[in-house]
């Protein structure tokens, strides 16, 4: 784990985060498909797996951009062109906004982590026009961004900030089960959407957990 609040993350963390995201999405591909089959169109696992596989391919293609922001932007553009479903523009916007919040920063501190997660959350809200409690990705990202902000303010390390965000995202995802969907394909089901986890919130938890694991593994 990262020691102390002075430690920072670099481009290598972003690359490791994206690779770990691809790994956990692929590992949970069928799980996400099954969740989405219950209340959606059964494509979330397949779409995300295709998208992150394309991202890894771009990273494997040789030289990736130097800064964390530029790598996030590359990933965003790749997801937008390869995912196909709503997750494409949503995760694409999230990573683009995260990239913008970092600018040319090369060393990401705890406040930067909280800032990029908040920017990503705001991007998802702007793109999907969903609010908390609508049974969407927002229900994972909003608690994650808030937990990250609180942890950073309290002087936590980057790894601790990311761990707080991941825990909050996973708890938020679990809390979508009783909700009635008000956005996305599941909203067509109305009350029948209650009793199922939201696939987008679950994948958001996986991806934020990947971010935390990548930071823990980096040191």
């Amino acid at each position: 784990m990262v020691e102390g609040s002075t430690s920072t993350l670099t481009t290598e963390w972003v690359v490791a985060w994206l690779r770990e995201s691809a790994r956990v999405v692929s590992e949970n591909r069928q799980y996400l498909i099954d969740l989405d089959r219950a209340i959606g169109d059964a494509d979330h696992g397949e779409n995300l797996d295709r998208g992150f596989t394309a991202v890894v391919k771009k990273l494997d293609d040789g030289t990736h951009p130097a800064t964390p922001g530029a790598v996030l932007k590359l990933a965003a553009m790749t997801l937008m062109s390869s995912v196909g479903g709503a997750a494409g523009p949503l995760y694409g916007t999230a990573l683009l906004r995260a990239a913008t919040s970092l600018g040319d920063t090369e060393a990401i501190g705890p406040d930067d982590v909280a800032g990029l997660l908040t920017a990503a959350r705001d991007g998802i809200v702007a793109r999907g026009k969903a609010e908390s409690g609508d049974k969407t990705m927002v229900d994972a990202w909003t608690p994650a961004a808030e937990a990250a902000g609180t942890a950073a303010m309290a002087g936590a390390s980057v790894a601790e900030v990311l761990a707080a965000a991941a825990n909050a995202a996973n708890a938020g995802a679990a809390a979508t089960e009783p909700l009635i969907a008000r956005k996305g394909r599941a909203s067509y089901l109305g009350e029948r959407s209650a009793g199922h986890l939201d696939p987008g919130a679950v994948s958001s938890g996986l991806i934020l957990q990947a971010a935390a694991d990548a930071a823990g593994a980096q040191e």
């Binding site: 169109d41 494509d43 779409n47 295709r50 394309a54 553009m77 937008m80 062109s81 390869s82 995912v83 196909g84 479903g85 709503a86 997750a87 494409g88 523009p89 949503l90 694409g92 916007t93 793109r127 999907g128 996305g184 394909r185």
Partner: protein
């Protein structure tokens, strides 16, 4: 130079099918399908592609602008993303319509065919009605016998609507082009006007009446330009919408 349309759908078949449908009524309008998603090996998948939408916008834009029409959820989001990425000059002439895909596209295409600008085409798409009550389409016209072929009208000095009825003389009746012409003429007037009970400023509603040759068109207008509206409709009908 006509406004172009981009159809963004999860399915390439839906996007292409709608373009085919609209093309029948709008041969000069650039209609570009941006449907589905191709995987690495070119296999078509259900989904929407940011790249396809960007390409379609550049193909459809001949300089007069582009209206995007979308189906569900991610199609809207993908279209919004594309709008954020096109250059700011082009952005000024591109619109994303909030419209029913099939009805909106047909209405927009007919409007674009008539040479309307991008905002007018967008409005045509957005005012196209989704659900029509079939009983309203062929209303019982109780006074039809009073004026077939004549165009008898009454004045409107006391605020009562001006009404008139005519029999359609041209073989094609009130098809897409005349519907677009009428709707545009009425939109330019300060008037509330209906034709056979539907809003005469709506291309789609006029077309949905399905008024063929020999059918009676009854117009009712109220407002400052009421008489002008009735006169203009009467002149159009009498000339068979320029087709006689």
């Amino acid at each position: 130079m006509n406004v172009g349309l981009v159809i963004v759908s999860h399915s390439s078949k839906i996007a292409e099918g709608i373009c085919d449908l609209a093309r029948e009524m709008a041969g000069d309008v650039p209609l570009v399908a941006a449907g589905g998603l191709d995987d690495d090996s070119g296999v078509p998948l259900i989904g929407t592609s940011f790249e396809k939408v960007l390409e379609a916008i550049s193909t459809a834009d001949q300089g007069a602008g582009v209206v995007l029409l979308t189906d569900l959820g991610s199609a809207v989001m993908t279209a919004e993303m594309a709008l954020e990425f096109i250059d700011s000059d082009q952005r000024l002439r591109v619109r994303l319509a909030r419209a029913a895909l099939v009805e909106g596209t047909v209405a927009a295409a007919v409007e674009a065919q008539s040479g309307a600008d991008v905002d007018t085409v967008t409005r045509a798409a957005e005012t196209a009605i989704v659900a029509l009550d079939p009983t309203e389409l062929e209303p019982f016209v109780s006074h039809a016998a009073a004026a077939p072929g004549e165009g008898g009208s009454q004045s409107s000095t006391d605020g009562k609507p001006v009404e008139a009825a005519w029999e359609l003389p041209n073989p094609m009746g009130l098809h897409a082009r005349p519907a677009a012409t009428l709707a545009r003429m009425m939109s330019e007037l300060d008037v509330e006007v209906t034709v056979n009970g539907v809003d005469a400023k709506s291309v789609m509603l006029l077309m949905s009446l399905g008024l063929g040759q020999g059918k009676v068109l009854t117009a009712s207008a109220a407002g400052p330009d009421a008489q002008k509206a009735i006169d203009q409709i009467g002149a159009e009908v009498a000339s068979g919408f320029g087709e006689l």
